[in-house]
Amino acid sequence: MSVLRASGLGHRVAFEVPARGAAMLAGLASLIGALLLASLASGSADVGLGDALAALVGAASDRADLVATEFRLPRALTALMAGGLLALSGALLQGTTLNPLADPALVGVSQGAGLAVIVLAVLMPAAPDAWRALAAFFGGLSAAVVILSLTGMRSGGVQTRFLLTGIGLAAFLSAMTTALLTYGRISEAHEALGWLAGSVRSASWDEVWRSALATAAAFPICMLAARPLAALRLGDDLAASLGHRVIRARIALLLASVAFAAASVSVVGPVAFVGLLAPHAARRLAHAGPGLHLALTWAIGACLAAAADLVGRTAFGPVQIPAGLVTALVGAPCFALLMLRTHRKETP
């Protein structure tokens, strides 16, 4: 297998990338570009690709400019970055819990973030948007802390019980959220329901900048996380004997996972299954080292969310389907397939 390498400073900084993985990454990048173009070109207003591109360089009518740069572009960019963050969150969660079926929206992290945002909206309707992100982080973190305090930090306790406890917690939190919604007025409830289903409908440049900031923070974190993440997949004992600080690494990775999920949820609401599927798809595309695997995971998550948003807003005509519903409808069957595969392997 051919390998691309880069190094400098007398090998003190050095990276290697398998060629196939690099090719896949380039392919995904062009897919992201294509999705962006498709998002710019399609929608209910009759602004085509030509008008939209003209708007980007400032050479279009005011109306085309508004549709393309204020509605479609921020929305597509937000979906991309929210999906990428969610995918990274899933990869970290699966790695730290040694559970291939872990997903922030399955174990209640997303639901905790969602509940916190809804509570904030009910108690302090006038709170600034930035608080939403903070509420989401602490909501998601609380959910993660509850699960871990019930299951323990060592991998032995983490696997099955982590998932079961998480599923119970998710059921509990969504029951609370649904019930809370009945207290709001119908218009607010309907809007909140749309948000809870994972929608980027109202995304503006504010959302773009916030998710871009989170993404920019995520990349260096992932570069540091890649190796401990790969080592934890070998089990606690082996990771420790390779010189990793297991408990500390697991706590740090989980915090990062929650932060990524919260950053995504605070922008688009809890989108299910992107965090679950992207890491598996990345592994299918290329057997890559830990760092490249995370990069592939990010790109796939971004594509999944952007595609889901594109489908959701074009499939049913004027009615817009939240991206989260599209990912749930596609993701649940994939999850079932993955589950069958995992369990068949465990009981041959």
């Binding site: 090998h11 790969a230 997949r233 089990g235 004992d237 420790a240």
Partner: protein
């Protein structure tokens, strides 16, 4: 071999080691000297503390009392990275990471030799290649681990510990769940590594496998060391009866001269 020479000798000295697991005294004052180079096998019944001893030396478990030193340095003074440069552990039945290529698995062993932003160096390449060659897994380098057989996988795990380039190798029952021919192959590999100068401490389940390949045997019973010495000195009917509750005869292998245990089966 292209393997870089071990930086330390690999002498392990254990003094007065006691370990508590829950309410159970898993180890009660163990003293053990492992000389550099050669293979030492830890034997005993289930629950006698042999795995506990191995894991405590590897710093997975914390001792309640006693000291462990590697070449004179107490292991609890070492950073995780420094410890990982001195000894490598292969746990029993390690988790199979889905989709991981053999090369990436073996590369994990280089972690203690890498920097924060230095993900790769020529020394890494050399160590990884040498480890895969020594264990004869180079031809699988780009295959995912789950595509291999049990014995091939076990050789990959051993390659990973070799890539760690440590003077000491700790292995917890590396032959369990493998076919007999594969067991022999793995033990032959370990014996060769021991002859090349590594200190190998291995927990084994199979008496005759230990007697055939190990240089020294340590018999454990109830958290203490009951007997230790060369296979000839330790594999005797009284020791087997005491440690395993086994009524057995010990004969010499007609070809190698090593002791072989034959349990009496009263018919």
């Amino acid at each position: 071999m292209a393997q870089t020479a071990p930086k330390t000798n690999g002498r392990v000295v254990v003094r007065g080691l006691s370990v508590q697991r829950g309410a159970v005294h898993a180890l009660r004052g163990v003293d053990l000297d492992v000389a550099p180079g050669g293979m030492t096998a830890l034997l005993g019944r289930n629950g006698c503390g042999k795995s506990t001893l191995l894991k405590t030396i590897a710093r997975i478990l914390r001792p309640a009392a006693g000291t462990i030193a590697i070449d004179g340095t107490p292991v609890d003074r070492l950073s995780p990275r420094a410890a990982a440069q001195r000894m490598a552990l292969l746990p029993q039945a390690p988790i199979l990471p889905e989709g991981m290529r053999v090369r990436d698995l073996v590369a994990q062993g280089r972690h203690p030799h890498r920097g924060l932003v230095r993900h790769w160096s020529p020394a890494d390449d050399a160590a990884i290649a040498a480890a895969m060659q020594a264990t004869d897994v180079a031809q699988f380098a780009d295959r995912p681990l789950e595509a291999l057989s049990g014995g091939q996988r076990q050789r990959c795990w051993i390659a990973m510990t070799l890539a760690q380039d440590t003077p000491i190798l700790l292995l917890d029952e590396p032959t369990t769940y493998l076919d007999l021919s594969v067991q022999l192959e793995i033990m032959g590999l370990l014996a060769r590594l021991a002859r090349e100068g590594r200190t190998i401490l291995v927990v084994l389940h199979e008496l005759n496998l230990a007697a055939a390949f190990a240089d020294r045997i340590v018999m454990m019973r109830d958290g203490r060391i009951d007997a230790e010495g060369t296979p000839d000195a330790v594999m005797t009917a009284p020791v087997l009866s005491r440690v395993f509750g086994l009524d057995a005869r010990v004969i010499a292998d007609p070809e190698t001269g090593r002791p072989v245990c034959l349990p009496r089966t009263a018919a």
